[in-house]
């Protein structure tokens, strides 16, 4: 019964941790917009945490610059299992307009497994909520797969 409670709850209480990997701040503002009264992601249980150790879902914005890559990987490794990685905006997926730059190490999927990509430059809050809801389902599945 206890196991079932945990499995049920994992899909209802996803806490976010946001990493800025060299983003232009456009996507970061959209992520904050998702949590404001207008879109209110808290009704689905989302909460922005300050420490990666509290998080379930890691949201990465920005094209992953050479400088930020080791920090991003280190922060992601501090998130306890089960965890989900969501990239936000076109930058971490493809590099966007920064593709091929000498200072960009992305895309992120070269280094870690990415669960959900939310496209757009910057992406709409509706798309972000959709992507995060998808990530929540994946999170619950991951929890079920754990022993």
């Amino acid at each position: 019964m206890f196991k079932k409670l945990i499995e049920e709850s994992t899909g209802k209480s996803p806490w976010l941790f946001h990493i800025n990997a060299g983003s232009c701040n456009g996507c970061d503002i959209e992520l904050v917009a998702v949590l404001t009264p207008r879109f209110d992601a808290e009704r689905l249980g989302f909460k922005l945490t300050g420490s990666p150790r509290h998080a379930d879902i890691v949201v990465v914005t920005g094209p992953v610059t050479n400088q930020s890559l080791p920090r991003v990987l280190r922060a992601i490794s501090q998130v306890p299992e089960p965890r989900c990685i969501v990239t936000m905006g076109s930058c971490p997926q493809s590099g966007n307009v920064f593709r091929g730059s000498y200072s960009v190490a992305g895309p992120l999927s070269k280094y870690v497994h990415v669960d959900v990509d939310v496209a757009g430059c910057a992406c709409k809050p509706e798309a972000v909520i959709d992507g995060l809801a998808l990530a929540t389902q994946i999170l619950a599945e991951k929890r079920r797969a754990m022993k």
């Binding site: 709850s9 209480s13 209110d40 689905l44 089960p82």
Partner: protein, 341 residues
């Protein structure tokens, strides 16, 4: 035989009511109501009322990471110490006519026990070896010092009013205070106690570390301070302790100022013609429901409304606020109580 019965009775007190299970359910429910009300005040839909339960069970199912710099035993045991202390406080707080444990000076015991959850979070934070925890625990200590003074003065004023009325000078037994109110009506009707109740309402959010007095756990600023390194079940226990502390402080308020409702319940049962053992059980059941409703109302007034309306204070502003405004109110109520008003 009676020894076995007593052992079973106390085990039920500790594990079910008013101990662990009651604290767990009603504490988390209060927390959920608080979050919902804050959301509604900000014109949001808000999380479901059961959200704290989901959070707690989810955290139980997460991996627990112990930092390399942490001292392992202290880091993992500190949250349990804090939760245990809160459950013990709840055993001392009477639910109107029912009290699990009572003593001649249980208010002083409660005052000491109220420090332990804060100390446990300081211990855990210090053991985690994180610089965020270092900043957080220094702020937590200042918050304790700020809140403790007006709280002690309020309890002193209440003790003086009841002690005067009973002719014993000072009364530090919560059970006697509630019993006296059941006979003579709630204390909140006396002038000095209105001031004390307002001071107590201001103490509650500081004691529980809620907005705007959460400089020690500022999540946007120092990553929840002492909790920065916690993950999984220990973090869940801290979240649970925070919720239970809301229940403890609000039910302490009910016991101190609204205890007269217990007499009302008794008279109501008498008018229905109920006496004896069955009436006692029904009185306790009604008491639990009434207590929870009152706790929810006080949570909304003293925690949710202030949370939705204010921004976080800096630590020296918290200190200044408590040692001037709230302590001032508490001193006024103490002076009024000393002159028998």
């Amino acid at each position: 035989m009676s020894l076995v019965m007593d052992a079973i009775k106390y085990l039920v007190y500790i594990l079910v009511f008013p101990g662990f299970l009651f604290c767990f359910l009603s504490g988390l429910l209060l927390c959920g109501i608080d979050r919902k009300i804050v959301a509604r005040m900000q014109k949001r839909v808000g999380p479901p009322v059961l959200q704290p339960f989901y959070d707690f069970f989810k955290l139980c199912g997460k991996e627990t990471i112990v930092p390399a710099a942490a001292s392992r035993t202290t880091f993992l045991l500190a949250p349990l110490v804090g939760l245990a202390a809160l459950v013990v406080i709840q055993l001392f707080i009477p639910v109107f006519n029912f009290s699990a444990f009572s003593g001649v000076a249980d208010i002083i015991v409660i005052l000491y026990l109220l420090l332990i959850p804060a100390l446990s979070i300081i211990m855990g934070g210090a053991a985690s070896g994180s610089p965020y925890a270092g900043v957080g625990l220094s702020r937590e200590m200042v918050t304790i010092i700020s809140v403790e003074l007006p709280l002690v003065l309020v309890l002193l004023a209440v003790g003086k009013v009841v002690g005067n009325a009973m002719g014993t000078g000072l009364c530090f037994s919560l059970t006697q205070i509630v019993a006296w109110q059941a006979e003579h009506g709630s204390l909140i009707a006396t002038p000095s106690m209105i001031v004390a109740a307002i001071a107590m309402l201001m103490v509650i959010p500081g004691e529980t570390g809620n907005h705007p007095f959460d400089a020690a756990e500022a999540e946007t600023e120092i990553c929840e301070g002492m909790l920065a390194e916690y993950s999984g079940a220990p973090l869940g226990v801290y979240k649970l302790s925070h919720a239970v502390k809301m229940l403890t402080m609000t039910s302490l308020f009910v016991a101190l100022f609204l205890g007269g409702i217990g007499g009302g319940i008794d008279r109501m049962l008498l008018s229905w013609g109920l006496t004896g053992g069955a009436a006692g059980v029904i009185a306790v059941l009604i008491g639990i429901v009434v207590l929870f409703v009152l706790c929810a109302i006080i949570t909304i007034i003293s925690i949710s409304l202030i949370h939705a309306a204010t921004a976080r204070l800096r630590i020296e502003q918290i200190f200044k606020y408590y040692w001037t405004v709230v302590t001032g109110l508490a001193v006024i109520s103490l002076v009024l109580a000393w002159y028998g008003m």
